[in-house]
């Protein structure tokens, strides 16, 4: 059963140095507040997996906490490049970064295989793609019925998955709505799971019987952090802060500006700083 607790406790109880850490959310519901707590607690040598590393992994990489990253699109969506990631790959700053690069289809399939308890994912992909030559974890398998050559990648099973969701109820069940990405698969494939939510409600009320609900017993910790996805968004609560995504290009361009920003807004800050974003944006 999920325990409802403070963010610092949830991270301390579930994250370790060297873990394979997954923080998913496809543009929507990205767990920024939780990532900041991971940075504050000083974990190191992490292997991060995320389809679209986004600003949170750029921040973790720039702070030197990451040994390896598994990903499929390392850009600042609609803006340009992830400049801390780029600095790590091109100049090994602040440390060398090992990468395992996939396509979106491969990673989505790998999370699904992880949730399904399979050792690998099989799909029709990577035909003619250069990644097959640089990523030894991309292999092929022959269909035993048709003989078709299909792509295979290892299942993704995190030591700990952290996601952000709209609501939990008092029992610790979690509801996700809108663009739901791969969060369900990432949680069900993980050894441990932490979920931050906008709010805890008495009950979910009138929702579709097919709504995406993760039962309390699939999660270790639930934490309330209003605004915890900012500058990503939480459908029904606040919209994506596209202005901040554009501004990140400036902040992350220079090492010193980046470190100063991180010190002020992450290291010396806390989860309560996210609340302001709920009121700022128009509810959507």
């Amino acid at each position: 059963m999920a325990k409802i607790m403070e963010l610092a406790t949830a991270i301390r109880e579930n994250v370790n140095d060297g873990d394979l850490l997954v923080m998913e959310g496809f543009t929507h519901l990205i767990p920024h507040a939780a990532a900041h707590e991971v940075i504050r607690q000083g974990y190191k040598d992490l292997t991060l997996s995320r389809m679209t590393p986004d600003l949170i992994y750029d921040q973790l990489i720039g702070m030197g906490r990451v040994k390896k990253m598994i990903f499929s699109y390392a850009g600042n969506p609609g803006v340009g490049l992830l400049l801390r990631f780029r600095d790590a790959v091109e100049n090994q700053w602040p440390r060398a970064l090992e990468i395992e690069e996939h396509s979106h289809a491969a990673m989505a399939n790998a999370y699904e295989a992880g949730a399904a308890g399979l050792p690998c994912a099989v799909f029709r992909g990577y035909r003619g793609a250069g990644l097959t030559e640089v990523n030894p974890n991309i292999k092929s398998i022959e269909c035993p019925f048709t003989g078709e050559k299909l792509a295979a990648v290892p299942a993704l099973n995190a030591d700990v998955t952290i996601i952000h969701a709209q609501r939990a109820n008092k029992n610790g069940d979690v509801l996700l709505e809108g663009i739901i990405g791969v969060q369900k698969e990432a949680v069900l494939g993980a050894k441990r799971a932490v979920v931050t939510v906008e709010e805890i409600v008495d009950d979910f009320g009138d929702i579709s019987p097919n709504a995406v609900v993760l039962p309390s017993w699939t999660i270790n910790a639930v934490v309330v952090i209003a605004g915890g996805a900012h500058p990503s968004y939480a459908h029904g609560y606040y919209s994506r802060d596209n202005g901040f995504y554009k501004d990140w290009d400036r902040i992350s361009r220079d090492r010193d500006v980046f470190l100063e920003w991180m010190d002020e807004n992450v290291v010396k800050s806390g989860p309560q700083a996210f609340e302001v974003h709920v009121k700022k944006g128009p509810a959507k």
């Binding site: 969506p77 490049l81 989505a108 003619g128």
Partner: protein, 256 residues
């Protein structure tokens, strides 16, 4: 008509390639602009799909990211990302994939991964995202990007996603049954693959553009079709729709 830019001609011309009955997998940036313009003009029933899982979406402004909230709110259906790639893309439901590129070669192969060596890159780009499977699972591929020697290269630094590979028959040898790149729209011209060589060649030049201009902006020895025509200029309706869309988008993103 006066005051029309080449960028506007590019978007309008790219949009015209789409049909009302298409189911289109939309890349962010220029493809998204062209696809939404098609929906707002001659193809109101087109199904636009973004890889975030939004199916049949009708945004009022262009999304900055592939998963802006408006894509979800205006969609016919929203599905998980594994479902998007397994059932809808791999399942063969998409008629057209609309892509852009950092580098493109004469066969429509695309690089969005690195400039320089993969393991020791000069410039690390974002990577392929959905492109490797979009390029092979969609019925056909349209590409749009601005013409320049930096982008239109003789040799790609990396093969992010396949177009026609090394020429005729390459897709077939890999077991790929879809058409691959069938149309390339730039800010100077429209190019189609030559049926025999699979090489992109110029079929129409945008109004006011010369052959020399296109040759100068292309990094490989460029071929021209037998009869090169002038691209039809944007109509007032197309131009108004595009300018309104871009104006709305600028205002929305500034307010965010």
């Amino acid at each position: 008509m006066t005051g029309i830019t080449l960028a506007e001609i590019m978007t309008v011309t790219a949009a015209r390639a789409l049909k009302n009955t298409d189911v289109c997998f939309v890349g962010i940036g220029l493809p998204s602009e062209a696809c939404n313009l098609a929906r707002l003009t001659h193809a109101p029933e087109i199904t636009l799909i973004y890889e975030s899982g939004t199916i049949g979406t009708k945004p009022n402004v262009l999304p900055l990211s592939i998963g802006d909230g408006e894509l979800c709110e205006t969609a016919v259906a929203n599905v998980s990302v594994p479902e998007m790639f397994r059932y809808w893309l791999q399942g063969g439901r998409i008629t057209v994939g609309f892509l852009s590129a950092a580098q493109l070669d004469r066969f429509g192969n695309i690089n969005t991964t690195v400039i320089g060596d993969y393991h020791n890159p000069k410039t690390r780009l974002p990577g392929g995202g959905g492109a490797p499977e979009i390029a092979t699972s969609c019925g056909e591929i349209f590409i749009t990007l601005k013409h320049s020697k930096r982008a239109f290269v003789d040799q790609l630094d990396f093969f992010t996603s396949i177009g026609h590979g090394d020429g005729p028959g390459h897709r077939g040898r890999l077991g790929i049954t879809t058409k691959g790149p069938t149309r390339l729209v730039t800010d100077l011209c429209v190019m189609l693959p030559n049926p025999d060589s699979c090489e992109f060649e110029v079929v129409s030049l945008h109004p006011g553009v010369t052959r020399e201009q296109v040759i100068e902006a292309t990094g490989w020895p460029l071929s021209f079709a037998k009869n090169v025509i002038e691209t039809a200029a944007p109509t007032a309706i197309e131009l108004d729709a595009l300018r309104d869309l871009k104006q709305r988008t600028t205002e929305a993103h500034a307010a965010a």
